[in-house]
């Protein structure tokens, strides 16, 4: 590598710091102003003003500051429609700016921008509200599922029903997009509401507390959520942690009574059949 000019490094540090200066939010609707008073004056002095337009070096630098936050805020708004509706636009914008100050993007792809959002929210008492954190977890799963690779789908068509059961007794390999989500409200449906164009703007009210379980996965070209029962959730969770089928079933059975055990045994085959049809299983790694 050629020697890095020290003056270039210094300039880029100053410039980067200036353009990522958080905006000052003026109201709950996320109107803002640029905090140009925070720019490094030694950097500003290097910038050519446009006196004919009445633009100082500071004003011109502010264009980049504004563009920086517009791009990141609109990316996050697009990926986190539910969280944005739960928090309201002002708090959402502040959250995004606080988060990205703490964890600036270190990836070439904007798809990775929110990789540590849940971690950050869990650490910060302003944002560590259970419904908000769960909404952020859910919306990250949608990003993950959309971008995940796809393995060859498990094909049992050439096997008899008995052989198919034997096949499922092998370590089960899941498609990388599939993730389980257990939540205390009905955030999946609230997210659909938040995304629907007919829905009016404004805050969304969190419904009464109720446990819901979901499998989030990619179906053709979009990500969707399949409602699953608690036994299905526990079983899939155990399998996804790498437990063999028998151990996974036993693990769930141990946590239930005779009634639950019978319920599970009756439905086990049809659950597996359904999950296979949804394409959640990949061919075993041979």
């Amino acid at each position: 590598m050629p020697t890095i000019p020290p003056s270039l490094l210094k300039l880029q540090q100053q410039f980067g710091e200036a353009i990522s200066t958080p905006l000052e939010l003026l109201d709950e609707d996320a109107n803002f102003r640029m905090r140009t008073e925070h720019y490094d004056l030694s950097l500003v002095k290097l910038l050519v003003p446009r006196e004919d337009l009445g633009l100082s070096g500071m004003d011109r630098l502010a264009t980049y500051n504004q563009q920086y936050w517009f791009r990141l805020l609109s990316t996050m708004q697009e990926e986190y429609p539910l969280l944005a509706r739960l928090t309201g636009p002002g708090v959402f914008a502040q959250l995004v700016m606080d988060y990205l100050q703490q964890f600036p993007s270190n990836s070439a792809s904007l798809r990775d921008l929110s990789r540590l959002l849940v971690t950050y929210m869990s650490m910060d008492s302003h944002y560590n509200r259970a419904s908000w954190v769960q909404a952020a977890e859910l919306e990250y799963l949608y990003i993950h599922a959309f971008d995940a690779g796809r393995l060859p789908v498990l094909d049992l068509s050439h096997l008899s029903p008995e052989q198919q059961v034997d096949q499922l007794a092998l370590p089960i390999r899941f498609q990388p997009d599939l993730r389980l989500f257990s939540e205390s409200w009905n955030l999946v449906e609230l997210r659909m509401l938040a995304r629907s164009e007919n829905d009016p703007e404004g805050p969304i009210l969190i419904p009464a507390h109720a446990q819901h379980h979901w499998a989030i996965y990619r179906k053709e070209h979009y990500v969707t959520a399949e409602a699953i029962g608690v036994f299905q959730y526990q079983l899939l969770d155990a399998l996804m942690q790498g437990k063999p089928l028998e151990d996974a079933v036993n693990h769930v059975v141990e946590q239930t009574d005779d009634h639950g055990r019978a319920f599970m045994q009756e439905r086990l085959t049809s659950w597996f059949d359904h999950w296979r049809r949804l394409g959640w299983f990949a061919q075993p790694d041979c």
Partner: protein, 285 residues
């Protein structure tokens, strides 16, 4: 691949195309419209899988694709990111892009990615530093590397030369190529009060492998922003006429990235380029 900058790579003229964007993909796959070629944003496809990669493969079955990146950060004081380059190279092999391009700018400093195309002062020292990096990139990638001139909204007091001289110096010293964005010349010319004709007259067109045309936006304070959300301005088409003639014919992409038109409307805008593709030695700018 040329071995040194004294050799000139004869880039094929692929015709007229558009940047491949999500709102049009379903239409393109379903209808397979007659388009010479598409340009993709490399970073959007440097993922493990998912719909973008699946769609790209379907597009590749029917069309030539060229790759254009936004995150190489060649002018950055950071080291080159070889993890990024490795993924980029794999994608280039997959798409069979005849060349790949990125911007003469920086997007990253101390590993912080700003996701914007940022300017630097035009000094000899910086030009030579960037050229050395660009040469490493082209050698590593094993296909021609084209750098795109930038739209900028600030200029630096310590610049030692005009933008075109800096641009040409990097290209010549590195032995790389030009992805010449005609709209960017105009945007920077208005923002920094230079004559775009001066710029156009100082370019060595034998290095240009591809052109961009696009629309821009004027902010209330008079600054032009390179927004790619509007029709190409007449003055930019007139500049394109000169550039096309000087290159002897060059692959041309219309960039349109926001406030999208329908696919057919976008193609109609791109097709305007044909009216300006005049092979006449007397074309004046």
């Amino acid at each position: 691949m040329p071995e040194s900058h004294t050799m000139t790579y004869q880039a094929k003229n692929l015709g007229i195309g558009i940047g491949l964007r999500v709102p049009h993909i379903a239409h393109i796959i379903a209808n397979k419209p007659d388009v010479d070629f598409f340009e993709i944003i490399s970073e959007n496809y440097m993922v493990d899988g998912g719909p973008p990669r699946e769609n790209l493969d379907r597009i590749l079955e029917h069309y030539p694709v060229v790759q254009h990146g936004v995150s190489l950060s060649i002018a950055s004081a950071d080291d080159l990111d070889f993890e990024y380059l490795k993924k980029l190279k794999a994608l280039c092999r997959h798409t069979q892009t005849p060349w790949f391009s990125d911007h003469l700018c920086w997007t990253r400093c101390n590993s912080h990615n700003y996701h914007d195309l940022l300017p630097i002062p035009y000094t000899e020292e910086y030009a030579d530093f960037i050229a050395a990096k660009a040469k490493i990139v082209q050698d590593y990638m094993e296909i021609p590397f084209a750098l795109e001139n930038l739209s900028t909204y600030v200029a630096f007091e310590n610049s030692q030369m005009p933008e075109w001289e800096f641009y040409q110096r990097v290209i010549d010293k590195a032995g790389v190529y030009m992805m010449f964005d005609v709209n960017n010349v105009y945007v920077s010319a208005v923002n920094h009060q230079f004559d775009p004709v001066d710029y156009l007259k100082h370019i060595d067109y034998s290095r240009v492998v591809q052109c961009h045309v696009a629309g821009h936006t004027e902010l209330p304070n008079g600054t032009l922003l390179d927004t790619h959300n509007d029709h190409v301005k007449d003055v930019v088409w007139e500049m394109y006429r000169y550039v096309y003639q000087q290159t002897g014919g060059v692959s041309t992409i219309l960039e349109w990235d926001a406030d999208f038109l329908t696919f057919d409307e976008t193609m109609a805008e791109a097709a305007i380029a044909r009216k300006f593709q005049i092979q006449d030695k007397n074309v004046q700018v």
